[in-house]
Symmetry: C2
Subunit: 219 residues, 2 copies
DNA sequence: CTCTTTCTGTTGTATATACAACCGATTCGT
DNA sequence: ACGAATCGGTTGTATATACAACAGAAAGAG
């Protein structure tokens, strides 16, 4: 697990905590490291989760398939991001979504209870991690509100513009890379792929944007 | 503010804290009480918020109006529920939504920093409140995911079924009261009111449900 | 390198939704 | 009790989206 200390230090959860302290907290928090191959499930809908999940390497999608195989993508998790905060409370019930590795991935699991139940003074930074976790959840919350804002647009075009603008703001550039291919983007925006593809090309023809694969430039 | 102690004790934020302790914490946390008449704005999009908002009386809607007056309702806040957790982090930016009183309402404001920065041992229950807050945010998070699940359905009928089923689960009954009239429900589900009205009546004619005003019974 | 699979864009058709206008019923204020 | 305003349901039309089927391009496997 040692090899991921630099990655962990860059996460929101361990922001402000030094390398040695992170290392000692891995024990203190009962961290477990798992690796997943591309396409493997990290978590499945219906399971119960009492851990905070931190992605150290790779990329995950949070998604859900219904009876007819229609897929809906809730979001994407990049390196350093966390998942599972929504299930931190003791009686939070079963997972509402699958979590799947879209690349080979390395994932840390931390027992929530051991995070929020501050231990003896052995871990100097424990309090800071608790606060970090709180801020992270708070931020996730805002992210979900923004996704709702995007999804609740009436037309495919509006959804695309909202999503891409938001990404541009996050990535602080008019040229952005998105973590989805066309089908995945459609599943994320809850629209039909071919209709979306159509709309994207129309927007390109109107000079609103350019793209190649999952790389977009807003004009 | 004293008169609302019983209400505050029933909130998630103060769960497990006794009446006297709640009272003393009102001072400790720098609580402020405001009242709003039906239709008044409690918070406006673009403002900055550094408080956790607790509704002691009445009912609030979290919503957003775009340039053309199209309204989108993110959610409803009932007595005892909280708002503002998403803006708890120091650099969380401006409010993304308006918060409006749909009835005459009484609202407590608590400075977030004073909640999460545990004070001297004077407040015995401070630690518990911090944990309560964390759980509340976590739960909000799950609520948002469920709303996303609902909104991302493709058809109006699916949205209605998802929303009403979810409410039935929450209210633990097949007969439910929703905090919206037709227009508000449409704004919540991001669909056209008349189309939704149509669909509701069709579903009623098919025997799926019954309703009168904002009271529904699922069959 | 070649074959296979996945990905993306294109087209046409069926369907669902948005939009607008209207009306009766209910609620509200005075 | 009265008029005004709000609310909910209905209808018709225009439009956008879903769905299906296909083809060329790109990526991946052997």
């Amino acid at each position: 697990m040692k090899e991921f200390i630099p990655e962990l230090m860059r996460t929101k959860l361990f922001a402000g905590v030094g390398g040695e302290d992170v290392l000692s907290m891995l024990t203190c928090l009962g961290a477990r490291l798992h690796t997943y191959k591309k396409g493997e499930y990290v978590l499945r809908q219906g399971e119960h989760l009492s851990d905070i999940v931190v992605l150290a390497e790779g990329s995950l999608h949070i998604q859900k398939d219904d009876y007819w195989g229609n897929r809906s993508i809730l979001g994407s998790i990049g390196v350093g991001e966390i998942f599972g905060e929504a299930y931190a409370a003791p009686e939070s019930g079963a997972l509402l979504n699958d979590v799947i590795a879209v690349e080979n991935s390395s994932v840390f699991f931390f027992d929530v209870k051991r995070i929020i139940t501050t231990c003896s003074s052995a871990c100097r930074f424990h309090t800071m991690v608790v606060q970090n976790l709180f801020y992270a959840v708070s931020e996730k919350n805002r992210g979900l509100v923004q996704k709702l804002d995007c999804i609740s647009r009436r037309t495919t075009r509006e959804k695309l513009i909202t999503y891409l603008s938001e990404e541009a703001k996050k990535q602080k550039s008019a040229e952005i890379t998105i973590p989805f291919n066309r089908q995945q983007l459609a599943d994320y925006l809850s629209v039909d792929r071919s209709a979306m593809s159509n709309e994207l090309c129309r927007m390109r023809d109107e000079g609103l944007l350019e793209f190649q694969k999952n790389r977009f430039r807003l004009c």
